[in-house]
Amino acid sequence: MPAVLAVAVVAVAFATLMVRLQVTRGGYAASQTKAQVMELRQENRRLRLEVARLTSHARLRRLAGRFGLGPARAGQLVVVP
């Protein structure tokens, strides 16, 4: 009986240790993911800025001019009531 009890105690201790180990590993992984999320968010901000720069009014106007495009002039648009 004491032997069984001793084995049970050791088993529970071992299981607790394993769980604790898993939690630690999970903590590391979560931490890395969190850092990745933050990095990606920064990247997203940079890319949004890049999009805004590339689609800025002045740049699009300049590019459109090269292809002979421009805003609609008077008479080119007919608004139907």
Partner: protein, 686 residues
């Protein structure tokens, strides 16, 4: 044997007792550690295993009414130095390399380091490539800090409204300053757990960095229209030699500002963001005030539209001063006075009204105090104390001399005429949203007070149309094709505030108006400061008004009221708008369009032949006939119902279009002239 066993047992017992004693001591120590020193030790462990990371606040984006970004924040790195460490542990050659990486001169970096300060910023908010270069050098005493930098992707466009944010993320001017608390966000401190080797661990929930993002502000400005207005102003400043110019486009019913543009002859991007002339600069309104004077006088009952006023043949003495008109006028009605912009007529109305009533009327229209726009630094304008409103002062104020208004005040006053008499509070920020996209607040239109009755507003609206469309009107150049414009020109002398006198030959030219006059949608104001002689408001400001107003109406999809169309403007627009490549085809088509006999169709109600026309031209033709059109497909008209020559019963017409102008069905064949036009079009495009 027994004695040996006993000795061994005694030794084992002693060892066991010793071990038990030691265990007891360990247990005792453990109990003491937990119960006595526990709290202190936990605190120490926390210090050892945790570190704090401060995440800088991210300013929210500022976007126009369509969501196009005007201000954004992104990470940038700043480089600092601990002077003593850097100077003591690096060579001058290494520091020169550092300076090159920063894009600065070595002498400047040395001077900064030897200034005596222990901490020095070597570069703030650098481009990522530069910061990476500095990091690669790995010099002792040099560190990198991540900060958020404000970017303005549209450059100087709408700069005076958006304003400026400083290096430390604080608003300095414009919307950035006024809504600083909303857009700024809050820095967040994260507590990170790490092990003995410094690896980060995540045991406790870590706060999200979402919380630090400031609100996204949505402006009422229309970026395309703002760009157009700034471009038109810039061109006119260059052409007229003006020192600066401003334009305001306002929704007269809501107070939303679609454009608030300022242009200076000496373009300084920094100053352009710090100063907003449209709300901060006051000028003498000149004749533009006559429209408001007319409204006040009509509301007071001192004049009626039919009241005739003698304009003294161009010369009128008030005490010691003599007031002149541009021409010699005799008896004029109120509408005539506005049409020819008679100073004498306006002066006589002001004198009849009296100082107190005119003053109160101007105050009711919003002059002399701030309009309440949600931008910082707004000026109140200047009406002067009533004591200055004696006979001469009152007479000259009748035609806009001796008082100062901001462009925005003038636009708001005309908005009241346009909207039926209500003074609305102008605003530039439509709404603010948090990072999850939920609205923090939405601006709602706000009527501050009533300046005049709707009936008076309607009368003034009708009279102001004569300035633009009347035979002797001063603002024919403000006419916008298809639309009726009501407005008033102004040309006032520039004031030298230091010398307290008018500058000879320098003036402020302006035009303020609204359209469509029958159902106003927009108030547009254009002011050009410090223009030379001969640059009247009707000559320099009115054309800018026309361009801005026409583009604004197109942008808002405002249809012209009724099927009116001027033949000449139609043909001009067609040949101008079609572009060089297609000009020959467009010319043929335009000629073809004008050649189609509308008179018989209009007379006996028969449908003309629309075949071969583009949708745009078909719509123009239909409008002239007063016919409602429904169209399907794209390209050129291939079929129509009712058929050409048949009755236009019910005044509606269905058009069917195909890209190549050829109908798969044999129902209707293009006429010979249309066939020629199509062939010419294909030749031109091929």
């Amino acid at each position: 044997m027994n004695s040996g066993w006993r000795r061994r047992a005694a030794r084992i017992g002693a060892l066991a007792a010793m071990l038990c004693g030691l265990l007891g001591l360990v247990l005792l120590r453990l109990i003491l550690l937990v119960s006595v020193d526990g709290a202190e030790l936990v605190k120490l462990a926390r210090v050892e295993h945790t570190s704090a990371l401060k995440l800088a606040a991210v300013r929210g984006a500022i976007v126009d009414r369509s969501g196009r970004p005007l201000a954004l924040s992104a990470q940038a790195q700043s480089v600092y130095a601990r002077s003593a460490a850097l100077l003591g542990r690096t060579t001058s050659a290494e520091r020169a390399r550092l300076a090159r990486a920063l894009g600065a001169s070595p002498a400047r970096v040395e001077a900064l380091l030897r200034r005596g300060a222990p901490f020095v910023w070597l570069g703030r908010q650098l481009e990522p490539a530069k910061a990476a270069q500095v990091g690669k050098l790995g010099l002792a005493g040099v560190g990198l800090v991540t900060e958020y930098r404000r970017f303005y992707p549209e450059g100087a466009l709408a700069g005076s409204v958006v304003g400026l944010a400083g290096l430390d993320g604080q608003g300095l001017s414009g919307v950035e300053l006024r809504y600083d608390a909303t857009v700024r966000g809050a820095p967040v401190k994260l507590r990170l757990y790490h092990d003995a080797l410094g690896h980060q661990m995540l045991y406790a929930p870590v706060a999200s960095d979402q919380a630090v993002v400031g609100a996204r502000l949505e402006l009422t400005l229309d970026l395309s229209l703002q760009a157009l207005a700034e471009r038109e102003l810039r061109d006119e400043v260059a052409a007229s030699g003006a020192r600066a110019a401003s334009a305001v486009v306002l929704d007269p019913f809501s107070g939303e500002l679609l454009v608030l543009a300022n242009v200076s002859a000496q373009a300084d991007p920094q100053d352009g963001r710090l100063h907003d002339g449209a709300i901060q600069d006051a000028f003498e309104p000149g004749s533009t005030i006559k429209g408001i004077l007319a409204a006040i006088a009509l509301a007071d009952g001192v004049v009626r539209p039919q009241t005739r006023i003698f304009c003294e043949q161009g010369k009128f003495r008030v005490d010691k001063a003599v007031i002149h008109d541009e021409g010699r006028h005799g008896w004029l009605e109120l509408g005539d006075i506005l049409e020819v912009s008679s100073n004498i007529g306006a002066a006589k109305i002001a004198l009849a009204l009296g100082a107190r009533r005119y003053y109160d009327g101007l105050v009711a229209f919003g002059f002399g105090h701030k309009s309440g726009i949600d931008l910082p630094g707004e000026a109140s304008g200047l009406l002067g104390g009533l004591r200055q409103w004696r006979r001469v002062g009152l007479a000259t104020r009748g035609f806009g001399q001796g008082l100062a208004v901001t462009p925005l005040q003038l636009a708001v006053a005309y908005a009241a005429v346009a909207n039926g008499g209500a003074i609305v509070r102008p605003y530039v920020v439509k709404a603010a949203y948090d990072s999850a996209g939920s609205a923090i607040f939405r601006q709602t239109p706000q009527v501050l007070r009533r300046a005049i009755s709707p009936a008076v507003a309607h009368t003034v609206n009708t009279l102001l149309r004569r300035t633009v469309a009347g035979q002797h009107g001063t603002a024919h150049l403000a006419q916008v094709a298809d639309f009726t414009v009501a407005g008033k020109t102004g040309t006032a002398q520039m004031v030298d505030f230091r010398a307290r006198r008018y500058l000879k030959g320098r003036s402020v030219a302006s035009f303020v108006g609204f359209l469509p006059a029958e159902a106003p949608r927009l108030v547009v104001l254009v002011v050009l400061y410090d223009v030379g002689p001969g640059h009247f408001g009707g000559l320099v400001a009115a054309p800018v008004f026309r361009e801005i107003a026409a583009a604004a109406l197109r942008g808002l999809n405002v249809a012209a009221p009724g099927p009116r169309f001027v033949e000449a403007s139609l043909l001009g627009a067609v040949s101008e708008g079609a572009g060089q490549q297609a000009s020959s085809a467009a010319g043929i088509e335009a000629a073809d369009l004008s050649a189609r006999s509308l008179a018989p169709a209009a007379a006996d109600g028969r449908a003309p032949d629309f075949a071969g026309l583009s949708l745009r031209r078909a719509l123009v033709l239909a409008r002239r006939l007063g016919v409602t059109v429904s169209a399907s497909g794209h390209g050129y008209v291939v079929r129509q119902e009712p058929l050409p020559g048949t009755s236009l019963s019910g005044h509606s017409l269905a058009l069917f279009l195909a890209p190549d102008g050829r109908d798969g069905r044999p129902a209707s064949r293009p006429s010979k002239t249309v066939g020629r036009a199509n062939r010419a079009r294909r030749r031109a495009s091929g």
